[in-house]
Symmetry: C2
Subunit: 348 residues, 2 copies
Amino acid sequence: MIIDCHGHFTTAPKTLHAWRKQQLEHVNDPRNQPKPSDLRISDDDIRDAIDQGQLKLQKERGGDVTLFSPIAGQMAHHLGNEQTSQVWARVCNDLIHRVIGLYPDNFVGVCQLPQSPGVAPANCVAELRRCIEELGFVGCNLSPDPSGGYWQDPPMTDRFWYPIYEEMVRLDVPAMVHVSSSCNPCFHGTGAHYINGDTTAFMQFLLSDLFTDFPTLRFVIPHGGGAVPYHWGRYRGLSLEQAKRPLEPLLRNVFFDTCVYHEPGIRFLTQVVPVDNILFGSEMIGAVRGRDPNTGEYFDDTKRYVDACAHLTVDERAKIFEGNARRVYPRLDQHLKNRGVAAAAASI
Amino acid sequence: MIIDCHGHFTTAPKTLHAWRKQQLEHVNDPRNQPKPSDLRISDDDIRDAIDQGQLKLQKERGGDVTLFSPIAGQMAHHLGNEQTSQVWARVCNDLIHRVIGLYPDNFVGVCQLPQSPGVAPANCVAELRRCIEELGFVGCNLSPDPSGGYWQDPPMTDRFWYPIYEEMVRLDVPAMVHVSSSCNPCFHGTGAHYINGDTTAFMQFLLSDLFTDFPTLRFVIPHGGGAVPYHWGRYRGLSLEQAKRPLEPLLRNVFFDTCVYHEPGIRFLTQVVPVDNILFGSEMIGAVRGRDPNTGEYFDDTKRYVDACAHLTVDERAKIFEGNARRVYPRLDQHLKNRGVAAAAASI
C-alpha cells in the first residue's frame, strides 16, 4: 500500500478564495464578514477539482491514500486576526472533510489550525479536537512562524506552545511542521520560507528538552527535512557540542517526508537518515508542478525516485510507503483497519 | 595546492571582544567609545592565536592557503549603529591584515563590511575599496540580513544593494554570502540562520535579473549552498516555472563551498553540482569544533571528505582545491602568481 503523507487541496474551487478575500476585506467587522454557509461549493465542484487533480495523479503514479490538508500557502495566519483565523481554519477543514466524504478510500484528513501571530497556540486546541474527534482526521499542520516570514513568536520549544502539544499527545496525533506563505519579500514561499521553516524547527528541537516533557510527541518535517539530512554531520556535531548528547535519540520523535524533487536527493536521504524515520510524501499538487525536461517526468513524482533506490530492501520500501505512516499516525492505521485494510507484513 | 576559501579568525584574542563590548556600551556616545588605537594586541598575541589554531589545523590537514576573514558571528551588524559598524569593520579588517603580514604564505584576506540594518550598502564601498586596494584583500563577506534574523532589509537583488555590486565588479572581487549571528530566538546561529541565509539568497538570485545587470558579479554561497544542492530538483523546477528559464546559467555567477560536515554530504554535493562551481572550504575554526565519535576525525575536516570521493578525477579535485578559487577570486590568483606560485596545470 502506498500512503502519501503530504498532500494539499491546492486545486480547491475559486469560490473558496473569493470567500477568503471577502472575509479579509471585513477583517475588523465580523458582522459583515461572509458566513461559512455563504460558501457555495457543490459536490460536483469538488469532484471536478479532485478528479482531474490529486486523484488523477494519485492513480497515475500508483498511490493509494493521501493525507490531505488545506492549501498550506493559504493558511496565511499572518492575514486577518485570531477571529478570522478561527473561522477560516474551520471553513478549510470542513471542505477537506467533504473531500473525504466523497473519496473515503483515497484521502484521509489532516487539519489546518487557527494560529495567529502573537496568539498562544492554546487557541488551536478546540479546532484540533473537533477535527480529530468529530471529523475523523489523523493529524494537523502546525506552523512554526504564524507571522509569515518575520519569525516573531517564540520558538516551537517554548512553553507558549505546550497546550497544543498536550492535546496532540492526548489525541495521539502528530503534527507536520509547515509554514504558510511568506509576506517577507526576502523569502520566496516554496523556495526559501518552506525549507527554512523545516531547518529552523529541527534545530529548535535539537537544542530543547521538549521530548523529555512530551516523550510521545511526534513531528513530521516536510520537504525532506529542509536542509537537515544534507547537513547531517553538522547537526550531529552541534548536538554533541551544544546539547551535550547524540543527535540520534531525537529520531524517536522527529520524522522526514520524501518531498525532494530529484532522484539523487531521495537516494541521499534514504542513505543518511534511518529508514524508520522516512515517510513517503509528494506535496502533490504543490510547489513544482511541471515536468523535468531532462526526464520528461513530473518533478514531484517522488514515488519514482524511491522506486529507483536500488539499495532499499522490500521491507525498507514498505516502511517508507506504508508502515512508518501507520506508526506515526496511529489514527490512520486504525482508520485503515476499520476499512479492512491490514498493514502489509513487510511494512511493520 | 589546497586553498580553503572559508576561514574565520574565531580564535582572535579576547581583548578584541572586550574592545567591542566597550564600543557597544557607548554606542550613542562616539566620544567615549574606545579608539581603534586603544586595542592592544601584540604580534605575539596573534601568533599565539594562530599557531595553535588555524595554522596548526591547516598544516595537520594538508592545506596551503586559507582565505581569512573576521569572525562571522561577531560582525553582528544588528548591534550598535552605522557609525559603530564602520569602526568595527575597520578594526576587524586591520587585525586580519596583521595576521596576513605575519603569515603571508598561509592566509589571504577577505573583509567584513560595515553593514547596518536599514542602511543602504552604498556605505560599504569605501571600506571594501580600502581592504582590496590598500590591504591587498581578495574578497568580502556580505550579509543578506544585517538585522540578525528578522530579515527587514530588501532582498539582495534589490537596487538598494547595487552600489556595492558596482564596486565589487569594478574591483573584480566576489562576495561570500554570509549572515552573522542571530538575535532572533527562533534561529540558532550556525544551526539555522547560517543555512537559511544561504538558501534564501540563492532563491533571491534565481528569481532575479541581477546577473543580467551585472554579468561578472560572483557570489560564493557557503555551507555547501545551504539546502540548495539537496533540493536541486526543486530549484530546477522553480526556475523553469517561476523564472521561465533553466537554472543552470545561474552557475556562471553562483558558487558553493564544501562546508558540509560528513562524507555522504560532500559526495552528494560533488555529484549534483557541477565541479566547476565547488570551492574547497572548511569554515575552520567554526561551527563545529569537535570530533565525530564514529570516526575519531574532526567534523569540519572537509578535505578528508573530498579526498574520499572516488568518483572525482585528478583534474576535478584540482579544480575544487585550487583552480576554482583562483578563477572566482582573480586577485588571489594574481597574489599567488606574484609570490611565484603558479596554478597547477590540472586545476585550470
